[in-house]
């Protein structure tokens, strides 16, 4: 890990943490990661890589290898929003939020007022009195996030906060995250969206197979993979090609990799490289479904630095 210049001291740290599920399968293997005060840290990794387990350990009751600053050692100073929010389905959204805020230490009236304010910020004011059991998955996510931010806990641990959110929900979440950060809060979130992580987080950690492969700022992660544009050529279903089998690549192609159903080529100048690149690929005999030219993003950085794809299936 690169501490970086001017880095704040860690608020929570995982030091060589290993954890096995009750069935004995490994979830985390020797994972080390620091969460610095007042940062927004995104955990990026494919399904089953250990992000949720790490969040639970960071927010839990003192697992071996987890070191917490006294400022967030008390359970009332942190909040974990799980990937599957648990709701009292018979109670309204407002009551669900208010009860959790009360459990977190707020008085009854204060909890209700805070719940109302945050439900409004997440666009749930009109549905606040409906039973939470009638909420859609996106509304449940909004409710869970409204409750999490309503706690004003200095350390927020948010598991898949973007799952099921529509653009309005994502915007509300991004604003709430920024406000929490502005108030000196620290947030760790797991996600599968590299664009959101790059835009709204101070650092990103790549989690693979229960380990932290790398953690750094989005800018530095992108620097490490180079700024060359990517040409992503997607093939018709069942016609994926391995670039290594196509013979020598044209000079314009600086590097190549493959994804499910696509090859990704790094080039210097897409407009000049595209014709010969396409011709090279088409020699393999596959039907091209689409061609996209884009700037590199954190998904490319993830692939380059970990040798794995963000969207690959859980092992």
């Amino acid at each position: 890990m690169n501490p970086g210049a001017g880095a704040k001291p860690p608020l929570v740290a995982a030091e060589a943490v290993a954890y096995r599920y009750p069935d004995g399968s490994p979830a985390l293997r020797d994972l080390s990661l620091e969460v610095r005060a007042e940062e927004r840290l995104a955990l990026l990794g494919p399904n089953g890589s250990g992000k949720s387990t790490l969040l639970r350990l960071l927010g839990g009751d003192g697992a071996p290898g987890i070191r917490r600053d006294p400022r967030v050692d008390d359970a009332g100073r942190r909040w974990l929003a799980p990937d599957r929010p648990a709701l009292r389905t018979w109670l309204s959204g407002r009551e669900n939020a208010a009860i959790l805020l009360e459990l977190h230490g707020a008085g009854s009236g204060e909890a209700r007022a805070t719940a109302d304010a945050w439900l409004a910020r997440f666009g749930l004011e009109a549905d606040a009195d409906r039973p939470a059991g009638a909420y859609s998955s996106g509304m449940r996510r909004r409710l869970a996030l409204a409750t999490a931010f309503g706690t004003a806990a200095p350390l927020l641990l948010l598991d898949e906060p973007l799952a099921g959110l529509d653009p309005g929900g994502r915007e509300a979440f991004a604003e709430a995250l920024a406000d929490h950060h502005g108030a000196g809060g620290t947030a760790v979130l797991s996600a599968h969206d590299p664009v959101f992580a790059a835009a709204h987080c101070d650092r990103v950690a790549f989690i693979v197979d229960g380990r932290c492969a790398v953690a750094d700022t989005p800018a530095r992660l992108l620097e490490r993979v180079g700024a060359r544009p990517r040409v992503e050529i997607r093939f018709a279903a069942g016609q994926a090609l391995d670039p290594d089998t196509l013979g020598p690549a044209p000079e314009a192609v600086r590097a190549s990799s493959r994804n499910e159903g696509a090859v990704i080529l790094e080039v210097d100048d897409p407009s000049r490289a595209l014709p010969e690149t396409l011709a090279w690929v088409l020699r393999g005999g596959a039907s091209v479904a689409s061609v996209e030219v884009r700037e590199p993003d954190l998904a490319d950085a993830f692939a380059t630095l970990t040798g794995r794809r963000l969207e690959e299936r859980a092992r």
Partner: protein
């Protein structure tokens, strides 16, 4: 008292279920109360129903709360395990007592045992407290709703048997066990309420000591039990 309020709010919000929980004991127990069955038989039926009502009604929601992650949320929010355990036991006891009250009143009225009303009320409350306390403990030892129901039934029947609901304890160790059984006051109170032998105040002493001891022990070990209940969702 957030858990207490939550339990009441949930119970009152589910009005249909609440009314069913009043109606079913009435429908099942009224014929027994009004029948010509011998007092010990009526006492046994009421005893089994009251204990099962408390034990099932506590263990099954405890498993469900653990499975759904609700318990996890409560404890992660910083609420202490003993508070959670004691508040849910208190709420479960009072809600169960309210729902069972009409059926018990029918028994006392039909048997002309209104004079024993206060003792029966106290015994029902003490029994429900103990049965509600056992719920999370049973739930911590099982892994499914079906197992929770089975374990609650087995444990309850065993305790009822040793409290003398099904046969009078013979002198010796069974008699000793009955003296210390937390369900013995219920048997003695219901017997008094159905025109049987008046209840001896000394019946309370040992049984309540056991109930108090189990309550204290449960509060002390609540964090361990609640950790078991949170399996396997949480590290």
């Amino acid at each position: 008292m957030t858990i207490w309020r939550l339990a009441w709010r949930t119970a009152l919000r589910r009005r249909r279920l609440f009314l069913w929980n009043v109606a079913v004991p009435l429908l099942l127990l009224t014929p027994v109360a009004l029948s010509a069955a011998a007092a010990p038989h009526r006492v046994a039926v009421f005893g089994v129903f009251i204990v099962f009502f408390g034990a099932f009604g506590s263990a099954i929601p405890a498993v469900r709360d653990a499975r759904d992650g609700w318990l996890d949320e409560i404890l992660r929010a910083g609420y202490s395990s003993p508070r959670w355990l004691l508040e849910r036991t208190l709420a479960g006891t009072t809600i169960d007592a309210l729902q069972l009250a009409p059926a018990v009143l029918v028994l006392l009225w039909s048997a002309g045992g209104a004079g024993a009303g206060a003792v029966v009320l106290l015994a029902v409350l003490a029994t429900l407290w103990f049965a509600n306390l056992l719920g999370p403990l049973v739930a911590a030892a099982v892994r499914s709703l079906a197992e929770a129901a089975l374990a609650s039934a087995a444990l309850s029947l065993l305790l009822l048997h040793f409290a003398g609901f099904f046969r009078t304890p013979a002198p010796g160790w069974t008699s000793l066990v009955a003296e210390w059984n937390p369900y013995t006051p219920l048997r003695a109170a219901l017997t008094a309420g159905t025109g049987g032998m008046p209840m001896d105040a000394s019946v309370w002493l040992r049984s309540l000591l056991v109930a108090a001891g189990v309550t204290f022990g449960a509060a002390v070990f609540a964090s361990d039990w609640s950790r078991r209940l949170r399996w396997p969702r949480t590290p």
